[in-house]
């Protein structure tokens, strides 16, 4: 039997697998998140070889390939080094639009922290100073969004 495949309906099947993932933060990252949760402080760490201060802290310096054990508190304030204002809605976004994704260069750090800005978006520009707005203690869970957002000062 010869079948004309051009005349066959193309079917689809619905997937049924939803794999639950649970990621270990690790001790270094946990130290950072616990400081957010318990102290409303932002912790980084410093490579002893190149003196780079990383925020969030990490187990080793990627460039020097050495362990990092020197933790430092950085400021809750810094400047915006890059941003974009998000207008379209998408289910995985952390908050409702409009809001901005921004890189925040905190005072005392050598790299920027990726986070969000929700208010005064019309005043947003590179170099503007911002401050971390923490959620209430009872709402903080040890998550990067324990910092609700950064506010333009």
């Amino acid at each position: 039997m010869t079948v004309n495949l051009n005349q066959v309906e193309s079917l689809t099947l619905q997937g049924q697998i939803a794999v639950p993932y649970t990621w270990w933060v690790g001790r270094v990252g946990s130290r950072f998140l616990i400081a957010l949760r318990d102290e409303a402080k932002i912790i980084g760490n410093r490579c002893n070889r190149c003196n780079t201060v990383y925020v969030p802290p990490r187990g080793n310096c990627g460039s020097c390939f050495e362990d990092i054990d020197q933790f430092v508190e950085v400021s809750n304030e810094g400047v915006v080094s890059a941003y974009t204002v998000v207008r379209f809605k998408y289910p995985l976004q952390p908050v409702d639009t409009p809001f901005a994704y921004a890189l925040i260069h905190l005072d005392g750090a050598d790299v920027s922290l990726a986070h969000i800005i929700k208010a005064d978006l019309d005043k947003l520009k590179n170099g503007v100073r911002v401050r971390a707005l923490f959620k209430e203690r009872s709402e903080r869970t040890g998550h990067i969004l324990d910092i609700d957002s950064f506010q333009i000062i």
Binding site: T22, W23, W24, R27, R58, G59, N60, F65
Partner: protein, 385 residues
């Protein structure tokens, strides 16, 4: 003409059911640092990196990019290789090709997995065809149970014969400080463990493990300066067969391993594997493989596996010790699993296997298994080929 290549250093984590203290990137770093320390190199001496795991076990894709801080690949060439269970052997073979090609002198191969971060079986199921095989015949157990049943029917092998393999590997693991499961078991323990799918019981199969492994490959001329006794790559071969489980002839043996080992033996000039190979570190994900696949590797004839095991030929001190590390049944961090076989073979050749060292190893065999009955084979040797 390919250059000669040798393994000059190995490193691995202390494997555990879960590693809450580190994330994936930090766990990779541990293995890489140990491999570099083993051969007294700095990350800055490494010219290129091959890394592998299975993305769907952690749901963090593109390990070649996000892990560079831990792998040491900052501003270096890095490539991901992922071939299922064979991944660890495939990264080793890819690292070998990189050095043999002449483009790179020192290449780091990394395999890792954090199985504790997801449901391993659910993730493995996503490997198989969603329309045809996934609903009825996917995950690690069904095809292996079919293979084991067919083997028992064909040759009269028993569950006790298979249990002997699990006991051997778990006993060997007691001498490996890195191994995950380090508690002795008996044949009675295996027989009494819960039946998963006949004839496979809980203690017949590998665990899920968090762990990483790293191996340094170096070119002829460079290798001898790094390691006094490097482990030379004598041959490697890979064979991938079916993607439909129903197409496999379960009575014909593991065809991919037969073909891959045949090619590797030819390249290495090996005619009588059991006599000419001093130690074998085999990817045996379940006990029955330890009976059947040694036949496919030519250690003994078809149906002779159970007797070969019973007579102690594969025990430490036997004719061809198998899995001195404790094997996959003791440690299974999937993307690292086959690379651990290569690392163990290299350590045996280099005389660095500590308490579990097989005396006077000239030639060692390592294998990888995965996917739909896929096989990788590597032969390492003390003599420069």
């Amino acid at each position: 003409m390919a250059r000669r290549v040798a393994i000059v250093g190995t490193g691995q984590t202390d494997h555990r059911s879960h590693r809450p203290d580190v994330n994936g990137r930090e766990m990779i770093y541990e293995a890489v640092k140990r491999a570099l320390d083993d051969c007294q190199l700095s990350i800055h001496d490494i010219d290129a990196i091959i890394i592998g795991n299975m993305d769907h076990f952690e749901s963090i894709n593109y390990v070649d990019t996000w892990s560079v801080e831990g792998s040491g690949a900052v501003m270096k060439p890095i490539m991901k290789v992922t071939t299922g269970g064979t991944t660890g052997a495939s990264v080793a073979i890819a690292a070998y090709y990189h050095v043999a090609s002449g483009f790179f002198d020192k290449v780091l191969a990394i395999g890792w997995e954090k199985n504790s971060e997801s449901d391993t079986t659910a993730a493995i199921i996503t490997c198989s065809d969603p329309v045809w095989d996934r609903a009825f015949y996917s995950g690690a157990i069904p095809s292996l149970a079919t293979e084991a049943s067919a083997y028992m029917k064909q040759y009269g092998a028993t569950q006790e014969d298979a249990a002997r393999v699990a006991v051997r590997d778990r006993t060997n693991a007691l001498s490996n400080p890195h191994a995950h499961l380090r508690k002795p078991i008996t044949i009675e323990d295996v027989m009494a463990s819960p039946m998963l799918a006949y004839p496979i019981k809980l203690l017949d199969v590998c665990p899920r493990t968090d762990g990483a492994a790293a191996v340094v490959f170096a070119a002829d001329g460079v290798a001898q300066k790094i390691a006094p006794k490097p482990a030379w790559i004598r041959a490697c071969a890979a064979r991938h067969t079916y993607s439909w489980f129903g197409d496999v002839d379960y009575n014909a043996g593991l065809l991919s391993l037969q073909r891959a080992s045949k090619e590797a033996y030819q390249r290495a000039g090996i005619r009588e594997p059991a006599d000419e190979i001093d130690v074998a570190e085999l990817y045996l994900p379940y006990s029955y493989a330890g009976l059947k696949w040694i036949e496919d590797l030519g250690f003994c004839g078809p149906g002779e596996g159970p007797g070969f095991i019973r007579d102690g030929h594969t025990d430490m001190g036997g004719k061809i010790p198998v899995n001195p590390s404790g094997g996959v049944i003791s440690t299974n961090c999937i993307g690292a699993t086959a690379l651990l076989r290569v690392a163990e073979a290299a350590m045996q050749v280099m005389g660095k296997a500590g308490q579990r060292q097989v005396p006077d190893v000239e030639v060692a065999l390592a294998t990888g298994f995965g996917g739909c009955f896929w096989s990788d084979v590597l032969i390492l040797g003390k003599a420069r080929p």
